[in-house]
C-alpha cells in the first residue's frame, strides 16, 4: 500500500511539474486585491497568458516578499494601499531589486458610515480626532486622556449618542490611512499641535495617530462585510471601511459627511473628500521579459477600459485619477520608468 502510494505521488509530481506554467505572481494589499484580481481575470481571459496568481498579504507583507530578491521564486508585482517607503526601497536595493516601476492606479475613499435607520453624521476632521484620539488637548496647552463619551460632548451640533466606532485593527492599511488622513488631519487643526510637528515629530505622531482604547473605538477585524452587518444591527454605531463596501451596501449604510463633503464617487475623484488615499502597483523591472506577460498585464491595468472613469475597475469601486495624472502614469508604466523617491 505504501509502495503504491509513493509511486502515485512520484508520478503525480513529475506530471505536475511538466504541467506547471510560468505565471505572473502578484502579492500585496488586501485593499487593492479586489482590483488586481479583476484585472488578472480579464487578462487571463483576453490573452493567451495564464491568469496571474494574486495573493492577499497586506501592503507591508507584500513589499517584504517583493523585495526579497530577483528570481522565479519571488513575486513580480506587489500591490500597496500606501506609497513605498524610502526604507523599503533601500531594503529592496540591498537584495538586488533596483529598478521598480511605480504605477498609481487610483484612489480609495475611507468612509465613516452608519445605519440608514439613523440620521446622517456631518463631521469635521477635528470632531473625528476629538472623538477617537487616546489623548486630546485639555484647553491649557496640554493633553488629557479622552474624556468624551457622546458625540454631543465633542461638538454640540452632533447627536447625543454614545461614541461607538467600529474599525480595522492596527495591522490593516486602512487603519494606517485613517490615522494619517482623518486623525492627523483633525489633530493639526490645533495650532500648538501643528507647531509641535516641527519640534518633536515622534510626540506629534504619538498624539495624532493613537486611537483610544477605552471601548469607544472597537476593533472589528479585517472583514468589512462584518462591520456593515454590525452597523445595520446597531443604528448608534459608526464604522470605518473602504468606499467599495459603502457602494455595495447603500441600502444598509450611509456615509457620513466629512468637512462638508459626502463620500461620493465624484467628490473622491475630484480630491474634495478629505479621507482618500492613493493605491499603487509596483512592478519588478528585472522580471519583465523573464516572466511572460508582465508588460501586457501592466498595459491591461493602465488601459482606459480598465482604470478609466467608465472602466471595469470603477465599477468595482476604484476611484479613477484625473486625465492628466492617468496619462502620466500610463506612460511611465509603458516605459517602465524606474521609481525615484524624492
Amino acid at each position: 500500500m505504501t509502495k503504491t502510494l509513493t509511486a502515485i505521488a512520484v508520478l503525480a509530481l513529475t506530471t505536475g511539474a511538466a504541467a506547471a506554467q510560468e505565471r505572473i505572481s502578484i502579492v500585496g494589499s488586501s485593499t487593492v486585491f479586489p482590483f488586481s484580481t479583476t484585472v488578472a481575470e480579464h487578462f487571463g481571459k483576453a490573452t493567451e497568458f495564464a491568469t496571474p496568481v494574486v495573493e492577499s498579504t497586506g501592503s507591508g507583507g507584500g513589499l517584504r516578499l517583493f523585495c526579497a530578491g530577483v528570481g522565479a521564486d519571488t513575486p513580480d508585482i506587489t500591490n500597496a494601499s500606501r506609497r513605498i517607503k524610502a526604507s523599503e526601497v533601500a531594503g529592496c536595493a540591498e537584495n538586488g531589486v533596483t529598478d521598480i516601476t511605480e504605477v498609481k492606479i487610483g484612489y480609495d475613499g475611507i468612509v465613516l458610515a452608519n445605519s440608514v435607520e439613523a440620521a446622517q453624521f456631518d463631521l469635521s476632521l477635528r470632531d473625528i480626532f476629538l472623538a477617537l484620539a487616546a489623548n486630546v488637548p485639555d484647553g491649557n496647552g496640554g493633553t488629557m486622556p479622552n474624556p468624551y463619551t457622546t458625540w454631543a460632548e465633542v461638538n454640540p451640533a452632533l447627536p447625543a449618542t454614545k461614541i461607538e466606532v467600529m474599525g480595522p485593527p492596527p495591522t490593516s492599511g486602512t487603519r494606517d490611512a485613517f490615522a494619517e488622513l482623518a486623525m492627523e488631519g483633525g489633530c493639526k487643526t490645533f495650532d500648538w499641535i501643528s507647531e509641535l510637528k516641527g519640534e518633536d515629530k515622534s510626540a506629534y505622531k504619538e498624539l495624532c495617530h493613537t486611537l483610544r482604547e477605552d471601548g469607544a473605538y472597537v476593533e472589528a477585524g479585517e472583514n468589512d462585510n462584518l462591520i456593515v452587518q454590525k452597523l445595520a444591527a446597531n443604528p448608534d454605531a459608526l464604522g470605518i471601511f473602504g468606499y467599495s463596501f459603502l457602494e455595495q451596501n447603500a441600502d444598509l449604510v450611509q456615509g457620513s459627511i466629512v468637512n462638508g463633503v459626502a463620500p461620493e464617487f465624484e467628490a473622491i475623484a475630484a480630491g474634495d473628500y478629505p479621507v482618500s488615499r492613493s493605491l499603487y502597483v509596483y512592478v519588478k523591472n528585472a522580471h519583465v521579459g523573464e516572466v511572460p506577460g508582465i508588460a501586457e498585464f501592466v498595459a491591461e491595468f493602465t488601459n482606459e477600459e480598465t482604470w478609466g472613469e467608465f472602466g471595469y475597475l470603477a465599477e468595482k469601486g476604484l476611484i479613477p485619477m484625473g486625465e492628466a495624472e492617468m496619462a502620466q502614469f500610463a506612460e511611465d508604466a509603458a516605459n517602465l520608468t524606474p521609481l525615484l523617491l524624492d
Binding site: 505504501t2 502510494l5 509513493t6 502515485i8 505521488a9 503525480a12 509530481l13 506530471t15 505536475g16 511539474a17 511538466a18 504541467a19 506547471a20 506554467q21 505565471r23 505572481s25 502579492v27 488586501s30 486585491f33 479586489p34 484580481t37 479583476t38 488578472a40 481575470e41 487571463g44 481571459k45 495564464a50 491568469t51 496568481v53 494574486v54 495573493e55 492577499s56 521564486d73 440608514v116 479585517e222 472583514n223 468589512d224 462585510n225 473602504g242 467599495s244 463596501f245 457602494e247 455595495q248 451596501n249 447603500a250 441600502d251 467608465f310 471595469y312 465599477e315 468595482k316 469601486g317
Partner: protein, 415 residues
C-alpha cells in the same frame, strides 16, 4: 426501626431524584448542541441555496454574416443583440447601464457556445446568457424595489428593463452548474468552487501520502520495537506537544524550510500538502499507537511462540488488526487538515486562483481559503456563494467521516 426505614426510603427518593435530574441534564445538553447545529445548518442552507440558481437573459443573436469562428466579434454580437432588444435606448450612458444587465463574460460565453455548436454560425438564433449579479440578486429578492432609488443597486431605468424582459419571458432562472465546474472569479455570477475543491483534494492526497506511512512507521517503531527508556518518553512527550501546536506555526516552518531552503514552488498543493502533513503527523502517530496498544498481547505472544520474528509478528498479525483504528485516526486528522487556512497563508495558498490546478506544483487554493476570500468580498452576491461553499466543505467532511466509520466497520475484528 421504623425511623431507620423512613430515613432510608427518604434517602432513596432523593437518590432517585438526583438520578432523574442527571439524566435530564444530559438530555438537555444533547438537545442544546443539536439545536445549535440545526440553527447553524438552517441559516447556512437558507443563505446558500441561492447560489444553486442563476438568472439568464434571452437574446436574439444574429450570426448570419459569419462563416467561421474568426469572423465574429463575440462581444460586439452580444452587445448589438442587447441593443436590438431595447431599440428605444439611444443615450450613451443609458446604453452603458443596459450592458450591465449581462455578465461581463457574455462575449466569451457566446464564443464557447459557438465553439461547441458550430451550426450556430450563419444563422439567427435565440440564446440564453448569464445575467449580471445585480439582476440575479433582484430576481432572488435580495434587492428591494421599494427603497428610494439612491439606496439600491438597481436604478429605476434598469428595473424598467428587467420588468420588460420579464413580461417577454426573456428572463429565467436555471440551475447554476458553473458554481461546481468553474474556478474563482471576481464576478459573483461566474465564481465557482471547482478550482478550490481540486486544490483541496490535491493537498490532501500529498498530505495523506506523506503523513500516513510516516505516522504508521513512527507508531510501530515506538510501540512495537523500541524499549521503554527515558529517550522514548522524551519523544512521546514531544509528539503529544506537537499535536497541540497552533497550525500557523507549521505554516511558518513550511515557509522557512520548504519554500526557502528546498525552493519548492509557492502556492502549490505540494507545499500545502507537506505543511498539512506536518500538522496531521502527530495526530496520526497518537491514534496509531492507541490502535496498536488495543491489539491484545496474546496475539503477539502466540505469533512469537510459533517462531515468527518480531517483524513478521508485527506485519502479519498486529498491523492488520490495528489498521482500522489507524485509518480512522488518519481520516480524522485529514478532516482537520481540510479545514485549515492559517498554515496556508504563509505559503501563498491564500490567493485568487482562476485556473483549475493541473498538477501538484501548479498554483492552487483550498476550500476554506475560498470561503474566507468570498466572505471578504464587497459584492453582496458573494454572501450566498460563501454559504454554499461552506456547505460543500461540510459535505466533504461528512463524506470523510462516513468513510472513517465504514472502514472501521469493515475491517474491525472482535476477539
Amino acid at each position: 426501626m421504623t425511623d431507620l426505614f423512613t430515613t432510608a426510603s427518604g434517602h432513596l427518593r432523593a437518590r432517585h431524584r438526583a438520578e432523574w435530574r442527571f439524566r435530564w441534564l444530559g438530555r438537555l445538553a444533547i438537545v442544546f448542541s443539536l439545536g445549535f447545529l440545526l440553527i447553524m445548518l438552517f441559516s447556512i442552507t437558507s443563505l446558500g441555496k441561492g447560489a444553486l440558481s442563476r438568472a439568464e437573459i434571452q437574446l436574439s443573436i444574429d450570426l448570419s454574416a459569419a462563416s467561421s469562428l474568426e469572423d465574429v466579434n463575440f462581444q460586439k454580437a452580444v452587445r448589438s443583440a442587447l441593443f436590438a432588444t431595447f431599440p428605444e435606448v439611444t443615450d450613451r450612458s443609458d446604453k452603458r447601464a443596459l450592458l450591465k444587465l449581462l455578465s461581463s463574460d457574455s462575449g466569451y460565453e457566446l464564443a464557447r457556445m459557438v465553439e461547441e455548436n458550430p451550426a450556430l454560425l450563419g444563422q439567427e438564433t435565440t440564446l440564453w446568457f448569464t445575467a449580471s449579479d445585480d439582476i440575479d440578486m433582484y430576481e432572488k429578492g435580495a434587492i428591494d424595489a421599494n427603497l428610494p432609488e439612491n439606496r439600491r443597486r438597481l436604478k429605476d431605468t434598469t428595473l424598467g428593463w428587467v420588468r420588460t424582459l420579464e413580461s417577454r419571458n426573456a428572463l429565467r432562472s436555471v440551475f447554476n452548474t458553473a458554481f461546481f465546474t468553474s474556478g474563482d472569479s471576481r464576478e459573483p455570477e461566474l465564481a465557482g468552487i471547482f478550482s478550490a475543491l481540486v486544490g483541496s483534494i490535491l493537498s490532501l492526497i500529498v498530505c495523506f501520502a506523506l503523513s500516513f506511512p510516516l505516522g504508521i512507521m513512527a507508531a510501530l517503531s515506538l510501540e512495537e520495537f523500541s524499549k521503554k527508556s527515558r529517550w522514548s518518553d522524551f519523544i512521546e512527550v514531544n509528539i503529544n506537544n506537537l499535536a497541540a501546536v497552533p497550525s500557523i506555526v507549521f505554516g511558518l516552518l513550511g515557509m522557512a524550510i520548504i519554500l526557502n531552503v528546498f525552493g519548492l514552488p509557492r502556492s502549490s498543493p505540494l507545499v500545502g500538502g507537506m505543511v498539512l502533513a506536518l500538522m496531521t503527523l502527530p495526530t496520526i502517530i497518537i491514534a496509531s499507537r492507541a490502535a496498536l496498544r488495543s491489539v491484545p498481547p496474546s496475539i503477539r505472544e502466540a505469533a512469537l511462540g510459533m517462531g515468527a520474528t518480531r517483524v513478521q509478528t508485527t506485519f502479519h498479525h498486529v498491523l492488520p488488526l490495528a489498521m482500522p483504528g489507524m485509518l480512522t485516526g488518519a481520516i480524522v486528522g485529514m478532516a482537520r487538515a481540510l479545514g485549515e487556512t492559517a498554515p496556508l497563508i504563509m505559503i501563498g495558498m491564500v490567493a485568487f486562483i482562476v485556473d483549475v490546478p493541473q498538477g501538484f506544483t501548479d498554483a492552487a487554493t483550498s476550500l476554506p481559503v475560498q470561503i474566507f476570500l468570498w466572505a471578504d468580498s464587497p459584492e453582496r452576491a458573494f454572501l450566498e456563494k460563501t454559504s454554499a461553499a461552506i456547505l460543500v466543505l461540510l459535505g466533504l467532511l461528512i463524506v470523510m467521516n462516513i468513510a472513517a466509520v465504514v472502514l472501521r466497520k469493515k475491517f474491525e475484528r472482535r476477539y
